[in-house]
């Protein structure tokens, strides 16, 4: 069965069953993943999948169902299931099935040049990445992970209010983990990069960065426990923002899960802090001209010069607050319901170069990596306590690597204690959203060590 036929049959059956309005959302993806170990492609994966998400309003309640197979049962399965799921919903405030925004922004997330890169060239790049890392220093023992991924995706939304939207995107990313050994001591480091321009991936630079980081950690020690001024280097700051990104969701505010409840329009951070959500970020992996409800996407400052300007909304949360949707309705996949999430979320660059931040820090710690952010953060209270690695700084000079410490604080308190914002914005590992930060100089985080 083709999509069109499936749509016509489900919409007709849904009407018969008494649905007021219905929608079909489909996603398909093609992906190639290459992993190299000791010069050989030891793992190669090719994917071609897709799925269909059906939802509809029945007696004012939204029910959902999905399928990956369009067989004879699929039509009745999704309609019957969505109805059964709608019948148990208590929540009477629901997003409408949306008739469409007045205007949609131009956004082209598909690069034909990237799509034309041959598998051979992708393999060569991945091999080169490993080779450069192995050659970068004689202490490199192994590259435990060296991978390249190219992916294309298509998203389509069609509903009974005659809205019909589609978009296509592609992108690639690579990562490597290097393991260095010196006199029986083992250290590792990880580097990730995403791009829409294949030629911009620089194997040498990525390899040297990863190896340099691992070598730099050799001889690391813990430090005495106490309060330290800290530079959270860009990706470490981004990983912390990622762990707390949910606090900006109006849905979480309404359900009492956000510590930003009641803080709209208030100064919640040092005035140097501006936080942007930009669904139209050029080359953003999660860039899109429309959100999962079909609302036009737009760039917005969530925090502007320290003031909380808006929460992130979908149609339902916006209606409740009597504001317009910010276009942040998200379906993590066709298997998920609509919720609220950022797209490409980041702290805006400040003025200070990294070296300048280190000079300003004078004496304290640089944190390069935070571990276990999924476990050691409490998004409800804002508290975090995380294992960390980095460097000790004395009088503006890096003096030694540091490990086996934890850094603890409260996310909102930290906002007020930001003393300087770097100009080195970088994005961390994508996980449903792309989240980035420049390096942040923060006064007084609790460090536990010796």
């Amino acid at each position: 069965m083709k999509l069109d036929e499936f749509k016509n049959k489900t919409f007709a059956m849904a009407k018969d069953k008494g649905f007021d309005a219905v929608e079909l959302y489909n996603q398909s993806a093609n992906q190639v993943q290459i992993k190299v170990f000791q010069g050989q492609v030891d793992d190669f994966a090719r994917a071609d999948t897709g799925g269909y998400s059906f939802r509809g309003l029945f007696n004012g309640r939204m029910g959902y169902a999905f399928t990956e197979i369009l067989d004879g049962e699929a039509v009745s399965m999704v309609v019957e299931d969505a109805k059964a799921n709608a019948l148990i919903i208590d929540e009477t405030e629901q997003s409408p099935i949306f008739g469409g925004s007045e205007k949609y922004p131009q956004y082209d997330g598909y690069s034909p040049e990237l799509a034309a890169v041959s598998t051979e060239d992708q393999i060569d790049f991945t091999r080169e990445l490993e080779a450069k890392a192995l050659a970068a220093d004689k202490r490199v023992k192994t590259v435990s992970n060296c991978a390249f991924v190219y992916g294309e995706s298509k998203t389509g939304l069609v509903n009974s209010r005659r809205l019909e939207l589609s978009q296509k995107g592609n992108g690639c990313y690579c990562w490597l983990s290097v393991v260095v050994v010196d006199q029986g001591e083992t250290r590792s480091a990880f580097k990730f990069k995403s791009e829409r321009d294949f030629a911009a991936l620089d194997a040498n630079a990525l390899a040297e960065e990863a190896v340099g980081e691992a070598i730099g950690q050799l001889g690391a020690n813990s430090v005495a426990s106490g309060a330290y001024p800290v530079i959270l280097r860009n990706q470490a700051a981004a990983s912390l923002l990622a762990a707390f990104a949910g606090i900006f969701s109006a849905e979480n505010v309404h359900k009492n899960f956000s510590l930003l409840k009641g803080k709209l329009g208030r100064q919640i951070a040092n005035s140097q802090i501006t936080i942007i959500d930009d669904p139209l970020l050029p080359d953003g992996l999660y860039s899109t001209p429309f959100d999962a409800e079909g609302v036009a996407a737009r760039r917005k400052a969530i925090v502007n010069d320290g003031t909380l300007e808006t929460y992130l909304h979908n149609l339902k949360s916006a209606a409740r607050d009597k504001v317009e949707s910010t276009g942040n309705a998200v379906k993590h996949s066709y298997k998920s319901e609509v919720s609220v999430a950022p797209t490409n979320l980041f702290f805006q660059n400040g003025g200070a170069g990294f070296d300048q931040l280190v000079q300003t820090l004078d004496s304290g710690l640089i944190i390069t990596e935070l571990q276990g952010t999924h476990a050691g953060t409490n998004p409800v209270s804002g508290d975090f306590s995380l294992a960390a690695n980095g460097y000790l700084v004395n009088k503006g000079e890096i003096v030694s690597p540091v490990d086996q410490i934890t850094v603890a604080g409260n996310f909102l308190e930290m906002f007020h204690n930001v003393e300087a914002v770097g100009n080195d914005l970088d994005f961390g590992l994508p996980g449903g959203s792309m989240i980035g930060s420049p390096s942040l100089l923060i006064n007084g985080l609790a460090i536990a060590g010796k």
């Binding site: 170990f37 050989q40 492609v41 190669f44 994966a45 090719r46 071609d48 999948t49 897709g50 799925g51 998400s53 029910g63 959902y64 169902a65 999905f66 990956e68 197979i69 299931d81 059964a84 799921n85 148990i88 919903i89 208590d90 929540e91 192994t142 435990s144 983990s177 393991v179 083992t186 250290r187 590792s188 426990s225 106490g226 009492n256 899960f257 510590l259 298997k335 998920s336 319901e337 571990q371 276990g372 999924h374 476990a375 050691g376 409490n378 409800v380 508290d383 306590s385 995380l386 294992a387 490990d403 086996q404 410490i405 934890t406 850094v407 603890a408 604080g409 609790a446 536990a448 010796k450």
Partner: protein, 468 residues
């Protein structure tokens, strides 16, 4: 689920075009997820996943391809393309299936399809009500319910052809306590490889009250002091420490490439003589159990550590080739969208001799971690971190005030040797484990145990051992 001859033809294609081994994995999974917040059912979603993964080996190299276009023509093309990507010569193309009958070890009494959504909603409401009314400090309760029925067909060019059906269910209860502007949460998420009879065997109200109790305790707790001191970790989900700090390093996926600190250490003393540890995929109806793994190999009970001596690894087929070892039935994957690799099932430290009371009484000063949260590990260095969800200080052999915000860090290899007391109250806890082959259900477990010294991170200053 699919014609044997078709599967045979697809597998033959993997051999004809370069593979020395081919594997076929078909999955048809029906799942339901419901969410209740603040007493209201807010989300209901159900549906069907369906697709095929084809894997081909040539020596140590592997190619994986997956699709949900399950037609004869497409499957043959996918198999051929996958095999050709290996650039290998192989002339064999014969596949003969053996009879792959096995006895189902995990009986299912109430299949998810036999109950309508109202049954699930009633269970959720019961849990909600118990947690919400536990204490006036409970401000919010969130319940998530899930069940799934996964049918798989796994066949390979060695002649295995097995079909299995895995039914799982889990309810996650999160209670949030509030005081002024502060919030703390408590969590419990019981689950099993079982039908909906699971909820007849447990009393979900007990779990709901426990989640609420944790939240209420922690909202009244002070910040945890930081420093290095003895840590007592309680049973059940406390086993996450062994899972992260050691379990991942005993998976063939990191041992085969020698990126694990435990590579080449079989027969060596790697832990305190008090430590014996197992990975057991055969425990009846347990959350991490299966009849066969996702490569079609029967699961087994694998001795990992015997009285501190390293005795075994968790091995999948591909890494087994590198290590010259047989599979231990540990090849697992989230779905057909992931190539399988060696993963844990139900992994635990076995019971010891001490009673929990003795362990507490023998500790002059330290942290008692009653419930652990999640954590992570760097397999190359063994460095780990865990969050403590409910913690208490121990003073003079007695459990004292509750403390919040504690994180435990250390190196797996060191902590294993520093375990100096092991309790007799072994129990397992349910979790989802994320790694290269996706997110899979896994049980962690241990009895109460004590680590002589660990780095504890908290927001309060240095812990004072001599405080009265």
């Amino acid at each position: 689920m699919l014609d044997r001859n078709l599967v045979g033809d697809v597998l033959a294609e993997t051999l004809r075009f370069g593979g020395d081994y081919g594997e076929f994995f078909l999955e048809d999974r029906y799942s339901t997820r419901l969410g209740l917040v603040g007493g209201k059912v807010e989300t209901g979603i159900s549906g069907r996943e369906y697709g095929v993964g084809i894997r081909v080996f040539a020596g140590y190299n592997s190619v994986y391809a997956y699709t949900n276009q399950v037609t004869r023509e497409n499957l043959l093309t996918v198999a051929r393309d996958a095999a050709q990507a290996l650039n290998n010569q192989n002339s064999s193309d014969t596949v003969r299936f053996r009879h792959g009958e096995f006895e189902n070890q995990h009986p299912i009494r109430i299949y998810p399809e036999s109950k309508d959504q109202r049954y699930r909603v009633e269970l959720m409401r019961t849990a909600y009500h118990e947690a919400k009314t536990y204490n006036e400090l409970i401000e919010q309760v969130r319940i998530r319910f899930m069940d799934e029925d996964q049918k798989v067909l796994i066949a390979n060019t060695d002649g295995d052809f097995v079909e299995d059906r895995r039914v799982r269910t889990r309810m996650a209860i999160e209670a949030i306590a509030a005081k002024g502007s502060e919030k703390q949460s408590g969590f419990y998420g019981p689950g099993a490889h079982m039908g909906l009879e699971f909820y007849d065997r447990i009393d979900i109200s007990d779990y709901a009250r426990e989640a609420a109790r944790i939240a209420v305790t922690m909202i009244q707790a002070d910040q945890c002091p930081s420093g290095r001191f003895p840590v007592i970790i309680d049973n059940e989900f406390g086993g996450v420490i062994f899972h992260e700090a050691c379990g991942h390093g005993l998976e063939a996926s990191s041992v085969a490439k020698k990126t694990s600190v435990f590579a080449d250490k079989l027969g060596e003393q790697i832990a305190s003589p008090l430590v014996t540890a197992w990975d057991d995929g055969t425990i009846v109806n347990a959350w991490g159990s299966q009849n066969v793994d996702d490569e079609g190999t029967p699961t087994q009970r694998t001795l990992l550590i015997d009285k501190g001596i390293l005795r075994g690894y968790m091995v999948d087929k591909l890494n087994g080739r590198r290590m010259n070892m047989h599979s231990t039935g540990s090849g697992r994957r989230q779905s057909y969208k992931f190539a399988p690799t060696s993963r844990m099932s139900n992994t635990f430290i076995d019971a010891g001799e001490s009673t929990p009371e003795q362990i507490i009484a023998n500790t002059e000063y330290g942290l008692y971690a009653r419930y652990m949260g999640g954590g992570s590990v760097n397999p190359a260095t063994g460095e780990f971190n865990f969050a403590v969800n409910e913690g208490y200080m121990v003073r003079n052999g007695k459990i004292a005030e509750p403390v919040r915000g504690a994180t435990l860090i250390g190196r797996g290899a060191e902590v294993l040797k520093q375990i100096d007391m092991v309790g007799n109250n072994l129990a397992l806890g349910q979790g989802m484990c994320g790694a290269a082959s996706g997110s899979i259900p896994a049980n962690v477990g241990q009895p109460m145990l004590r680590v002589s010294e660990m780095t504890v991170g908290g927001r309060k200053g240095k812990g004072d051992r001599h405080e009265a």
